[in-house]
């Protein structure tokens, strides 16, 4: 682990009431990063929304809103890269089947993964050791 690397491993009940806590942890973490000549407001908002979207996807879709399940999130942030992993035990989904939102049709759902993909550089979803892992990476400058 590098000198300026922060790693967090978080497990919370599968309940949307914890979205705010997780989002705010991301927000606070981004603000801890040093950046020459300015703050990290944009990154703080981005980390907040990505964590919120990824976690609500796990809670509502992968875990069918079952309050007895647990969501596991791991965060690693260094001077150069941010990596978020969200683990679920659900049936999984096809990341490639998620398209862009249709602004003319104005659908109610289906913007969460689109937002994650816009903000992060690399997004993958795979099966690993009995879990599904949504992995999201972003280069930091």
């Amino acid at each position: 682990m590098g000198r300026n690397t922060i790693e967090l491993d978080i497990k919370v009940p599968n309940q949307t009431r914890y979205l705010s806590l997780i989002g705010r942890i991301g927000d606070a973490l981004a603000r801890e990063l040093e950046e020459e000549g300015g703050g990290r407001e944009v990154l703080a908002d981005q980390l907040n929304v990505v964590l919120t979207e990824a976690m609500s996807n796990a809670i509502l879709h992968a875990h069918d809103d079952d309050p007895d399940k647990t969501v596991h999130i791991s965060l690693s942030i260094s001077d150069h890269e941010l990596c978020i992993r969200v683990f679920d035990q659900g049936r999984g989904f096809d990341l490639d089947a998620v398209g862009e939102p249709d602004d003319e049709g104005a659908r109610e759902h289906g913007r969460g993964l689109f937002i994650i993909r816009c903000v992060m550089d690399v997004v993958t979803y795979r099966r690993s050791k009995g879990f599904n892992v949504l992995e999201m990476r972003k280069k930091l400058r």
């Binding site: 949307t16 908002d45 602004d103 759902h109 969460g112």
Partner: protein, 118 residues
């Protein structure tokens, strides 16, 4: 989530009081917009000035309200978008779908003039 409901010159103003509009609380706003249109309101304004953070569920709730406005031949406008909220509308291109005003006064004036654009 608490939503303040007020009336001003025939406009129903819904003001979410929380800083966050996300998958945990967006159904409350969705329900409040639906109830307003079903109760016969034609002009509904959602004042987002307290909301510092919105996610896709919050955006989805507003889209649902927009659909209610269309099906009831009414009008839904938004005002008071903070920075993160505005950037989410732009990212998802929903700023092209909604009638968005800078502040409450501009939004209310648009109802008084009977403006409809979009």
């Amino acid at each position: 989530m608490e939503i303040a409901v007020t009336e001003n010159s025939g406009v129903t103003i819904l003001t979410p009081m929380n800083e966050r509009l996300d998958a945990h609380n967006s159904d409350t706003l969705k329900g409040a917009m639906k109830e307003s249109f079903e109760a016969g309101a034609k002009n509904v304004l959602v004042d987002l000035s307290n909301v510092r953070f919105i996610d896709s569920s919050g955006l989805g709730a507003l889209v649902s309200g927009f659909k209610n406005s269309v099906s009831h031949r009414g009008r839904l406008t938004l005002s008071g978008l903070q920075e993160q909220v505005r950037s989410m509308f732009e990212l998802t291109r929903l700023h092209r779908v909604f009638e968005i005003y800078e502040g409450l006064d501009e939004a209310l004036a648009s109802f008084a003039e009977g403006d409809v654009h979009g």
